[in-house]
Protein backbone atom coordinates (compact mmCIF):
# COMPACT_ATOMS: atom_id res chain seq x y z
CA UNK A 1 0.00 0.00 0.00
CA UNK A 2 3.01 2.30 0.29
CA UNK A 3 3.10 5.21 2.67
CA UNK A 4 -0.16 6.80 3.62
CA UNK A 5 -0.90 9.64 5.97
CA UNK A 6 -4.01 9.09 7.98
CA UNK A 7 -5.60 11.72 10.12
CA UNK A 8 -6.28 10.65 13.70
CA UNK A 9 -8.29 13.57 14.93
CA UNK A 10 -9.39 16.30 15.46
CA UNK A 11 -12.48 14.09 15.52
CA UNK A 12 -11.75 10.44 16.15
CA UNK A 13 -13.27 7.82 18.46
CA UNK A 14 -9.93 7.12 20.14
CA UNK A 15 -9.52 10.70 21.25
CA UNK A 16 -11.83 12.16 23.80
CA UNK A 17 -10.71 15.68 23.08
CA UNK A 18 -9.91 17.47 19.85
CA UNK A 19 -6.31 17.26 18.77
CA UNK A 20 -4.84 16.10 15.53
CA UNK A 21 -2.27 13.42 14.90
CA UNK A 22 -1.20 13.03 11.29
CA UNK A 23 0.15 9.53 11.27
CA UNK A 24 2.33 8.33 8.41
CA UNK A 25 1.79 4.62 8.01
CA UNK A 26 3.75 1.98 6.22
CA UNK A 27 1.28 -0.87 6.16
CA UNK A 28 0.26 -0.95 9.80
CA UNK A 29 3.52 0.50 11.10
CA UNK A 30 3.76 4.09 12.26
CA UNK A 31 6.79 5.77 10.72
CA UNK A 32 6.08 9.39 11.52
CA UNK A 33 3.66 11.36 13.65
CA UNK A 34 2.81 14.98 13.37
CA UNK A 35 0.90 16.52 16.21
CA UNK A 36 -1.15 19.65 16.10
CA UNK A 37 -2.62 21.12 19.23
CA UNK A 38 -4.73 24.16 19.74
CA UNK A 39 -8.25 23.10 18.89
CA UNK A 40 -9.52 23.94 22.31
CA UNK A 41 -7.90 27.18 23.29
CA UNK A 42 -10.20 28.88 25.75
CA UNK A 43 -8.27 31.96 26.79
CA UNK A 44 -8.30 31.01 30.45
CA UNK A 45 -5.10 32.85 31.37
CA UNK A 46 -6.36 36.07 29.86
CA UNK A 47 -9.72 35.64 31.55
CA UNK A 48 -7.93 35.24 34.88
CA UNK A 49 -6.31 38.62 34.52
CA UNK A 50 -9.72 40.22 34.16
CA UNK A 51 -11.14 38.71 37.34
CA UNK A 52 -10.44 38.91 41.03
CA UNK A 53 -8.45 36.26 42.87
CA UNK A 54 -11.58 34.67 44.30
CA UNK A 55 -13.22 34.46 40.90
CA UNK A 56 -10.03 33.01 39.46
CA UNK A 57 -10.23 30.00 41.73
CA UNK A 58 -13.40 28.92 39.98
CA UNK A 59 -12.21 29.64 36.49
CA UNK A 60 -8.96 27.75 37.05
CA UNK A 61 -10.86 24.89 38.57
CA UNK A 62 -12.44 24.52 35.18
CA UNK A 63 -9.16 24.22 33.31
CA UNK A 64 -9.52 20.48 33.63
CA UNK A 65 -12.61 18.45 34.24
CA UNK A 66 -10.78 15.68 36.03
CA UNK A 67 -7.97 17.31 37.96
CA UNK A 68 -10.01 20.34 38.94
CA UNK A 69 -8.78 20.28 42.53
CA UNK A 70 -5.20 20.19 41.29
CA UNK A 71 -5.45 23.43 39.39
CA UNK A 72 -7.37 25.30 42.05
CA UNK A 73 -5.06 24.11 44.84
CA UNK A 74 -1.99 24.97 42.82
CA UNK A 75 -3.29 28.46 42.18
CA UNK A 76 -4.45 29.02 45.73
CA UNK A 77 -1.12 27.85 47.14
CA UNK A 78 0.73 30.20 44.84
CA UNK A 79 -1.41 33.15 45.85
CA UNK A 80 -1.03 32.25 49.51
CA UNK A 81 2.71 32.27 49.04
CA UNK A 82 2.60 35.79 47.61
CA UNK A 83 0.33 36.95 50.41
CA UNK A 84 2.53 35.19 52.95
CA UNK A 85 -0.25 33.34 54.75
CA UNK A 86 0.04 30.03 56.45
CA UNK A 87 -3.20 28.10 56.29
CA UNK A 88 -4.55 26.19 59.30
CA UNK A 89 -3.56 22.59 59.88
CA UNK A 90 -7.03 21.20 59.38
CA UNK A 91 -7.39 22.94 56.02
CA UNK A 92 -4.16 21.31 54.89
CA UNK A 93 -5.49 17.88 55.75
CA UNK A 94 -8.79 18.54 54.02
CA UNK A 95 -6.93 19.62 50.89
CA UNK A 96 -4.87 16.46 51.05
CA UNK A 97 -7.91 14.23 51.47
CA UNK A 98 -9.74 15.82 48.54
CA UNK A 99 -6.57 15.71 46.44
CA UNK A 100 -6.14 12.00 47.05
CA UNK A 101 -9.81 11.26 46.46
CA UNK A 102 -9.41 13.09 43.18
CA UNK A 103 -6.36 11.01 42.34
CA UNK A 104 -8.36 7.86 42.99
CA UNK A 105 -11.16 8.97 40.72
CA UNK A 106 -8.74 10.07 38.02
CA UNK A 107 -6.73 6.84 38.04
CA UNK A 108 -9.85 4.65 38.06
CA UNK A 109 -11.15 6.68 35.16
CA UNK A 110 -7.88 6.18 33.34
CA UNK A 111 -7.95 2.43 33.89
CA UNK A 112 -11.41 2.32 32.32
CA UNK A 113 -10.38 4.47 29.37
CA UNK A 114 -7.30 2.33 28.81
CA UNK A 115 -9.54 -0.73 28.75
CA UNK A 116 -11.85 0.93 26.27
CA UNK A 117 -9.00 1.93 23.96
CA UNK A 118 -7.94 -1.69 23.59
CA UNK A 119 -11.49 -2.89 23.16
CA UNK A 120 -11.88 -4.23 26.69
CA UNK A 121 -15.16 -2.52 27.47
CA UNK A 122 -15.89 -4.79 30.41
CA UNK A 123 -12.98 -3.37 32.36
CA UNK A 124 -14.21 0.09 31.43
CA UNK A 125 -17.71 -0.60 32.74
CA UNK A 126 -16.52 -2.15 35.99
CA UNK A 127 -13.93 0.47 36.86
CA UNK A 128 -16.36 3.24 36.15
CA UNK A 129 -19.00 1.55 38.25
CA UNK A 130 -16.57 1.43 41.18
CA UNK A 131 -15.39 4.95 40.50
CA UNK A 132 -18.93 5.99 41.34
CA UNK A 133 -18.14 5.22 45.00
CA UNK A 134 -15.44 7.88 45.10
CA UNK A 135 -17.55 10.31 43.09
CA UNK A 136 -20.35 9.93 45.61
CA UNK A 137 -18.08 10.56 48.55
CA UNK A 138 -16.59 13.60 46.81
CA UNK A 139 -20.08 14.91 46.24
CA UNK A 140 -20.90 14.49 49.89
CA UNK A 141 -17.68 16.11 51.07
CA UNK A 142 -17.51 19.04 48.69
CA UNK A 143 -20.98 19.48 47.27
CA UNK A 144 -20.23 18.56 43.69
CA UNK A 145 -18.97 15.60 41.72
CA UNK A 146 -16.43 17.30 39.50
CA UNK A 147 -15.74 20.91 40.33
CA UNK A 148 -15.24 20.56 44.04
CA UNK A 149 -14.86 24.23 44.88
CA UNK A 150 -13.38 23.35 48.24
CA UNK A 151 -10.49 25.78 48.07
CA UNK A 152 -10.48 29.39 48.96
CA UNK A 153 -7.55 31.71 49.48
CA UNK A 154 -6.49 31.09 53.05
CA UNK A 155 -7.92 27.64 53.57
CA UNK A 156 -10.87 25.53 52.58
CA UNK A 157 -14.53 26.43 52.34
CA UNK A 158 -16.05 23.42 54.03
CA UNK A 159 -15.23 21.34 57.01
CA UNK A 160 -15.55 17.57 56.97
CA UNK A 161 -17.69 16.28 59.81
CA UNK A 162 -16.85 13.21 61.87
CA UNK A 163 -19.57 11.13 60.23
CA UNK A 164 -18.30 12.04 56.79
CA UNK A 165 -14.77 11.11 57.77
CA UNK A 166 -16.06 7.71 58.81
CA UNK A 167 -17.90 7.40 55.54
CA UNK A 168 -14.73 8.27 53.65
CA UNK A 169 -12.92 5.50 55.49
CA UNK A 170 -15.56 2.89 54.67
CA UNK A 171 -15.61 3.82 51.00
CA UNK A 172 -11.83 3.74 50.92
CA UNK A 173 -11.99 0.20 52.30
CA UNK A 174 -14.46 -0.81 49.60
CA UNK A 175 -12.33 0.80 46.91
CA UNK A 176 -9.18 -0.84 48.16
CA UNK A 177 -10.73 -4.26 47.80
CA UNK A 178 -11.81 -3.48 44.25
CA UNK A 179 -8.39 -2.06 43.39
CA UNK A 180 -6.72 -5.25 44.54
CA UNK A 181 -8.95 -7.09 42.11
CA UNK A 182 -8.03 -4.72 39.27
CA UNK A 183 -4.35 -5.19 40.02
CA UNK A 184 -4.93 -8.91 39.57
CA UNK A 185 -6.78 -8.31 36.31
CA UNK A 186 -4.10 -5.99 34.99
CA UNK A 187 -1.30 -8.40 35.81
CA UNK A 188 -2.98 -11.68 34.85
CA UNK A 189 -5.44 -11.23 32.00
CA UNK A 190 -3.65 -12.55 28.93
CA UNK A 191 -5.17 -10.40 26.22
CA UNK A 192 -4.65 -7.29 28.33
CA UNK A 193 -1.00 -8.17 28.92
CA UNK A 194 -0.52 -8.80 25.21
CA UNK A 195 -1.72 -5.33 24.41
CA UNK A 196 0.21 -3.55 27.17
CA UNK A 197 3.56 -5.29 27.52
CA UNK A 198 6.37 -3.90 25.37
CA UNK A 199 4.10 -1.33 23.78
CA UNK A 200 5.05 2.34 23.70
CA UNK A 201 8.54 1.86 25.06
CA UNK A 202 10.17 4.98 26.43
CA UNK A 203 13.62 4.32 27.77
CA UNK A 204 14.83 6.07 30.90
CA UNK A 205 17.22 8.23 28.87
CA UNK A 206 14.52 9.29 26.44
CA UNK A 207 12.16 10.00 29.29
CA UNK A 208 14.72 12.31 30.90
CA UNK A 209 15.56 13.89 27.57
CA UNK A 210 11.97 14.62 26.57
CA UNK A 211 10.96 15.60 30.07
CA UNK A 212 8.31 13.06 30.92
CA UNK A 213 6.55 13.70 34.21
CA UNK A 214 4.05 12.05 36.47
CA UNK A 215 3.13 8.38 36.08
CA UNK A 216 4.55 8.42 32.54
CA UNK A 217 7.96 9.42 33.84
CA UNK A 218 7.79 7.21 36.91
CA UNK A 219 7.08 4.20 34.71
CA UNK A 220 10.36 4.94 32.94
CA UNK A 221 12.30 5.01 36.17
CA UNK A 222 12.22 8.75 36.89
CA UNK A 223 11.99 8.93 40.65
CA UNK A 224 10.26 12.25 41.10
CA UNK A 225 7.08 13.21 42.85
CA UNK A 226 6.29 16.76 43.94
CA UNK A 227 4.40 15.45 46.93
CA UNK A 228 7.65 14.09 48.34
CA UNK A 229 10.23 16.41 46.80
CA UNK A 230 8.50 19.69 47.55
CA UNK A 231 5.73 18.87 50.00
CA UNK A 232 2.65 21.02 50.08
CA UNK A 233 -0.62 20.70 52.05
CA UNK A 234 -0.17 17.90 54.57
CA UNK A 235 2.05 15.62 52.54
CA UNK A 236 5.03 16.21 54.81
CA UNK A 237 3.04 14.74 57.70
CA UNK A 238 2.07 11.47 56.06
CA UNK A 239 4.30 8.67 54.85
CA UNK A 240 3.88 7.17 51.43
CA UNK A 241 5.89 5.41 48.77
CA UNK A 242 6.63 6.95 45.40
CA UNK A 243 5.85 4.21 42.92
CA UNK A 244 8.62 3.83 40.37
CA UNK A 245 8.61 1.15 37.74
CA UNK A 246 11.16 0.02 35.22
CA UNK A 247 8.97 -1.59 32.59
CA UNK A 248 9.23 1.59 30.47
CA UNK A 249 6.06 0.64 28.59
CA UNK A 250 2.31 1.03 28.78
CA UNK A 251 2.17 -1.90 31.17
CA UNK A 252 4.51 -0.09 33.53
CA UNK A 253 2.33 3.02 33.37
CA UNK A 254 -0.69 0.91 34.26
CA UNK A 255 1.15 -0.63 37.19
CA UNK A 256 2.30 2.76 38.47
CA UNK A 257 -1.26 4.04 38.41
CA UNK A 258 -2.92 1.08 40.10
CA UNK A 259 -0.22 0.96 42.77
CA UNK A 260 -0.55 4.70 43.30
CA UNK A 261 -4.19 4.03 44.08
CA UNK A 262 -3.11 1.83 46.98
CA UNK A 263 -0.84 4.62 48.23
CA UNK A 264 -3.69 7.10 47.96
CA UNK A 265 -5.82 4.93 50.25
CA UNK A 266 -3.06 4.87 52.81
CA UNK A 267 -2.58 8.64 52.59
CA UNK A 268 -6.29 9.22 53.17
CA UNK A 269 -6.31 6.90 56.17
CA UNK A 270 -3.30 8.64 57.71
CA UNK A 271 -4.77 12.09 57.06
CA UNK A 272 -8.07 11.19 58.68
CA UNK A 273 -6.19 9.82 61.66
CA UNK A 274 -3.84 12.77 62.06
CA UNK A 275 -6.50 15.43 61.63
CA UNK A 276 -7.02 17.72 64.60
CA UNK A 277 -9.91 20.01 65.35
CA UNK A 278 -9.39 23.64 64.54
CA UNK A 279 -10.23 26.48 62.22
CA UNK A 280 -10.32 25.87 58.48
CA UNK A 281 -9.61 29.34 57.14
CA UNK A 282 -7.52 32.36 57.89
CA UNK A 283 -8.56 35.75 56.66
CA UNK A 284 -6.70 36.97 53.62
CA UNK A 285 -7.22 40.53 52.37
CA UNK A 286 -8.87 40.87 48.98
CA UNK A 287 -5.92 42.83 47.71
CA UNK A 288 -2.90 40.60 47.43
CA UNK A 289 0.42 42.45 47.95
CA UNK A 290 2.64 42.85 44.92
CA UNK A 291 4.95 39.98 44.18
CA UNK A 292 5.24 36.81 42.20
CA UNK A 293 5.34 33.12 42.99
CA UNK A 294 5.65 29.80 41.35
CA UNK A 295 3.56 26.86 42.52
CA UNK A 296 4.02 23.15 42.01
CA UNK A 297 1.48 20.43 42.58
CA UNK A 298 1.48 16.73 41.82
CA UNK A 299 -1.70 16.27 39.82
CA UNK A 300 -2.85 12.74 38.94
CA UNK A 301 -1.26 13.21 35.51
CA UNK A 302 2.00 14.71 36.66
CA UNK A 303 3.40 17.95 37.91
CA UNK A 304 1.11 20.92 37.52
CA UNK A 305 2.77 24.33 37.54
CA UNK A 306 1.19 27.73 38.12
CA UNK A 307 2.88 31.09 38.04
CA UNK A 308 1.11 34.12 39.46
CA UNK A 309 2.24 37.72 39.44
CA UNK A 310 0.45 40.20 41.58
CA UNK A 311 0.53 43.98 41.29
CA UNK A 312 -1.10 44.81 44.59
CA UNK A 313 -4.66 45.02 43.31
CA UNK A 314 -7.61 42.68 43.53
CA UNK A 315 -6.73 41.15 40.20
CA UNK A 316 -3.59 39.24 39.26
CA UNK A 317 -1.36 40.75 36.63
CA UNK A 318 -0.42 37.44 35.10
CA UNK A 319 -1.42 33.84 35.61
CA UNK A 320 0.43 31.11 33.78
CA UNK A 321 -0.74 27.52 33.83
CA UNK A 322 1.34 24.59 32.66
CA UNK A 323 -0.86 21.52 32.65
CA UNK A 324 0.95 18.18 33.01
CA UNK A 325 -0.05 16.96 29.55
CA UNK A 326 2.07 19.61 27.86
CA UNK A 327 5.20 18.05 29.33
CA UNK A 328 4.11 14.59 28.26
CA UNK A 329 3.42 15.42 24.64
CA UNK A 330 7.01 15.18 23.47
CA UNK A 331 7.47 11.77 25.06
CA UNK A 332 4.32 10.48 23.39
CA UNK A 333 5.68 11.31 19.96
CA UNK A 334 8.82 9.39 20.87
CA UNK A 335 6.75 6.44 22.14
CA UNK A 336 4.73 6.11 18.95
CA UNK A 337 7.70 5.50 16.68
CA UNK A 338 7.71 2.08 15.03
CA UNK A 339 4.58 0.77 16.69
CA UNK A 340 1.40 -0.41 15.06
CA UNK A 341 -1.54 1.79 14.28
CA UNK A 342 -3.46 -0.47 16.63
CA UNK A 343 -1.20 0.62 19.47
CA UNK A 344 -1.71 4.32 18.90
CA UNK A 345 -4.88 4.73 21.00
CA UNK A 346 -3.44 3.01 24.03
CA UNK A 347 -0.05 4.72 23.77
CA UNK A 348 -1.70 8.13 23.57
CA UNK A 349 -4.11 7.23 26.33
CA UNK A 350 -1.26 5.96 28.50
CA UNK A 351 -0.05 9.47 29.26
CA UNK A 352 -3.60 10.18 30.42
CA UNK A 353 -3.85 13.15 28.07
CA UNK A 354 -5.89 16.20 28.80
CA UNK A 355 -5.52 18.21 25.66
CA UNK A 356 -8.02 20.91 26.47
CA UNK A 357 -6.04 21.72 29.60
CA UNK A 358 -2.90 21.96 27.54
CA UNK A 359 -4.05 24.46 24.96
CA UNK A 360 -2.77 27.85 26.00
CA UNK A 361 -1.96 29.98 23.03
CA UNK A 362 -2.44 29.64 19.37
CA UNK A 363 -0.68 31.67 16.74
CA UNK A 364 -2.39 31.64 13.40
CA UNK A 365 -0.46 33.09 10.52
CA UNK A 366 -1.84 33.96 7.16
CA UNK A 367 -0.01 31.72 4.71
CA UNK A 368 0.30 34.35 2.02
CA UNK A 369 1.41 37.39 3.96
CA UNK A 370 3.02 35.39 6.81
CA UNK A 371 1.51 37.84 9.24
CA UNK A 372 -0.47 37.19 12.34
CA UNK A 373 -3.25 39.42 13.60
CA UNK A 374 -3.59 40.53 17.18
CA UNK A 375 -7.12 40.90 18.48
CA UNK A 376 -8.00 42.37 21.80
CA UNK A 377 -10.77 41.10 24.06
CA UNK A 378 -13.50 43.37 22.67
CA UNK A 379 -12.81 42.69 19.02
CA UNK A 380 -12.58 38.97 19.70
CA UNK A 381 -15.96 39.09 21.40
CA UNK A 382 -17.43 41.02 18.53
CA UNK A 383 -15.94 38.59 16.06
CA UNK A 384 -17.37 35.59 17.87
CA UNK A 385 -20.83 37.12 18.08
CA UNK A 386 -20.73 37.88 14.36
CA UNK A 387 -19.51 34.36 13.65
CA UNK A 388 -22.41 32.80 15.51
CA UNK A 389 -24.94 35.22 14.05
CA UNK A 390 -23.94 34.16 10.56
CA UNK A 391 -24.87 30.61 11.57
CA UNK A 392 -28.19 31.66 12.96
CA UNK A 393 -27.41 31.60 16.65
CA UNK A 394 -28.40 34.83 18.26
CA UNK A 395 -27.29 36.38 21.51
Amino acid sequence: MGKVIIPIGPQHPALKEPESFSVTLEGEKIVDVNLRLGYNHRGIEKACEERTYIQDIYILERVCGICSHSHSTCFVQTVEEIAGVEIPERAKYIRTIVAELERIHSHLLWLGVAGHEIGFDTLFMYTWRDREIVMMILKKVTGNRVNYGINTIGGVRRDISQELLKEILTSVDALEERTKYYIQVATQETTLMNRLLNVGKLSHEDAVLTGAIGPTGRASGIDSDTRRDDPYAAYDKVTFKVIVDNHNDVYGRTLVRVLELMEAYSIIRQSVQNMTEGPITVKVPRKIPAGEAFGRYEAPRGEDVHYVKSNGTEKPERVKVRAPTLANIKPVLKMLENYNLADLPIIVAAIDPCFSCTDRTLLIKDKKSNKSKIMDWESLRKYSIEWYKKRGIGF
Partner: protein
Protein backbone atom coordinates in the same frame (compact mmCIF):
# COMPACT_ATOMS: atom_id res chain seq x y z
CA UNK B 1 5.63 -12.71 38.18
CA UNK B 2 2.00 -13.61 38.45
CA UNK B 3 0.36 -16.46 36.65
CA UNK B 4 -1.09 -15.44 33.32
CA UNK B 5 -4.72 -16.33 32.96
CA UNK B 6 -6.91 -15.75 29.94
CA UNK B 7 -10.42 -14.66 30.81
CA UNK B 8 -9.49 -13.48 34.30
CA UNK B 9 -12.71 -11.52 34.68
CA UNK B 10 -15.01 -14.40 33.78
CA UNK B 11 -16.10 -15.14 37.35
CA UNK B 12 -16.78 -11.52 38.13
CA UNK B 13 -18.69 -11.17 34.90
CA UNK B 14 -20.85 -14.25 35.47
CA UNK B 15 -21.67 -13.20 39.02
CA UNK B 16 -23.11 -9.97 37.59
CA UNK B 17 -25.82 -12.01 35.89
CA UNK B 18 -27.55 -12.64 39.20
CA UNK B 19 -26.86 -9.17 40.54
CA UNK B 20 -29.05 -6.17 39.89
CA UNK B 21 -27.59 -3.75 37.34
CA UNK B 22 -25.60 -0.94 38.91
CA UNK B 23 -27.32 1.61 36.70
CA UNK B 24 -29.73 4.05 38.28
CA UNK B 25 -32.59 4.49 35.83
CA UNK B 26 -32.36 8.19 36.34
CA UNK B 27 -35.36 10.02 34.94
CA UNK B 28 -37.66 7.32 36.32
CA UNK B 29 -35.84 6.87 39.59
CA UNK B 30 -35.02 10.11 41.33
CA UNK B 31 -32.21 10.41 43.78
CA UNK B 32 -31.59 12.82 46.61
CA UNK B 33 -28.65 15.16 46.68
CA UNK B 34 -26.59 15.33 49.87
CA UNK B 35 -27.43 18.25 52.13
CA UNK B 36 -24.41 20.37 51.24
CA UNK B 37 -24.90 19.96 47.51
CA UNK B 38 -24.33 23.12 45.55
CA UNK B 39 -27.45 23.42 43.47
CA UNK B 40 -29.79 26.24 42.58
CA UNK B 41 -29.31 29.38 44.65
CA UNK B 42 -32.14 30.66 46.80
CA UNK B 43 -32.39 34.29 47.89
CA UNK B 44 -34.07 35.68 51.01
CA UNK B 45 -34.96 39.30 50.25
CA UNK B 46 -35.74 40.14 53.86
CA UNK B 47 -32.18 39.34 54.96
CA UNK B 48 -30.37 41.25 52.22
CA UNK B 49 -28.71 44.51 53.17
CA UNK B 50 -27.55 45.36 49.68
CA UNK B 51 -23.79 45.16 50.20
CA UNK B 52 -23.42 43.47 46.82
CA UNK B 53 -20.49 41.35 47.93
CA UNK B 54 -22.07 38.42 46.13
CA UNK B 55 -22.20 40.40 42.90
CA UNK B 56 -18.54 41.28 43.25
CA UNK B 57 -17.45 37.72 43.93
CA UNK B 58 -19.60 35.92 41.41
CA UNK B 59 -17.20 34.45 38.82
CA UNK B 60 -19.78 34.48 36.07
CA UNK B 61 -21.75 37.68 36.75
CA UNK B 62 -24.91 35.73 37.28
CA UNK B 63 -26.31 37.81 40.12
CA UNK B 64 -27.79 41.28 40.00
CA UNK B 65 -29.11 43.01 43.08
CA UNK B 66 -31.31 46.02 42.59
CA UNK B 67 -32.61 48.38 45.17
CA UNK B 68 -36.38 48.65 44.93
CA UNK B 69 -37.17 50.62 48.03
CA UNK B 70 -35.87 51.64 51.40
CA UNK B 71 -33.83 48.63 52.59
CA UNK B 72 -35.57 46.49 50.02
CA UNK B 73 -33.60 44.54 47.52
CA UNK B 74 -34.46 42.37 44.62
CA UNK B 75 -32.25 39.67 43.20
CA UNK B 76 -32.05 38.26 39.74
CA UNK B 77 -30.10 35.06 39.19
CA UNK B 78 -29.29 33.96 35.70
CA UNK B 79 -29.40 30.18 35.86
CA UNK B 80 -27.71 29.86 32.48
CA UNK B 81 -24.74 31.92 33.63
CA UNK B 82 -24.46 30.50 37.13
CA UNK B 83 -21.73 27.89 37.55
CA UNK B 84 -23.09 26.72 40.92
CA UNK B 85 -19.90 27.32 42.86
CA UNK B 86 -21.87 28.83 45.77
CA UNK B 87 -19.21 31.47 46.32
CA UNK B 88 -22.02 34.01 46.80
CA UNK B 89 -23.36 31.91 49.67
CA UNK B 90 -19.94 32.07 51.32
CA UNK B 91 -19.51 35.76 50.58
CA UNK B 92 -22.86 36.84 51.99
CA UNK B 93 -22.46 38.19 55.47
CA UNK B 94 -26.16 38.03 56.31
CA UNK B 95 -26.86 34.54 54.95
CA UNK B 96 -29.35 35.92 52.50
CA UNK B 97 -28.30 33.38 49.90
CA UNK B 98 -28.51 29.65 50.23
CA UNK B 99 -27.73 26.76 47.93
CA UNK B 100 -30.38 24.11 47.54
CA UNK B 101 -30.31 20.52 46.35
CA UNK B 102 -32.22 21.36 43.22
CA UNK B 103 -30.26 20.40 40.13
CA UNK B 104 -32.70 19.64 37.33
CA UNK B 105 -32.52 23.06 35.76
CA UNK B 106 -32.45 22.40 32.04
CA UNK B 107 -34.96 24.45 30.09
CA UNK B 108 -35.93 24.75 26.48
CA UNK B 109 -37.09 28.31 26.96
CA UNK B 110 -34.26 30.72 27.61
CA UNK B 111 -36.56 33.08 29.49
CA UNK B 112 -37.22 30.53 32.17
CA UNK B 113 -33.54 30.54 33.03
CA UNK B 114 -33.88 33.90 34.68
CA UNK B 115 -35.04 33.70 38.26
CA UNK B 116 -36.17 36.83 40.03
CA UNK B 117 -36.65 36.96 43.78
CA UNK B 118 -38.98 39.86 44.46
CA UNK B 119 -38.71 41.92 47.57
CA UNK B 120 -41.72 41.69 49.84
CA UNK B 121 -43.78 44.84 50.08
CA UNK B 122 -44.94 46.31 53.39
CA UNK B 123 -48.04 44.18 53.60
CA UNK B 124 -46.09 40.99 53.05
CA UNK B 125 -47.49 40.26 49.59
CA UNK B 126 -45.14 39.73 46.71
CA UNK B 127 -45.05 42.69 44.46
CA UNK B 128 -44.96 42.16 40.72
CA UNK B 129 -42.42 44.30 39.01
Amino acid sequence: MNMIRPGKMIRQVLSSLIKKPATIKYPYVKFEMPENFRGKIKFYPEKCIGCKLCVRDCPSNAITITKVGEKKFECEIRLDKCIYCAQCVDSCLKKALESTGEFELAQLDKKKLKEIFHAQSEDGIKKET
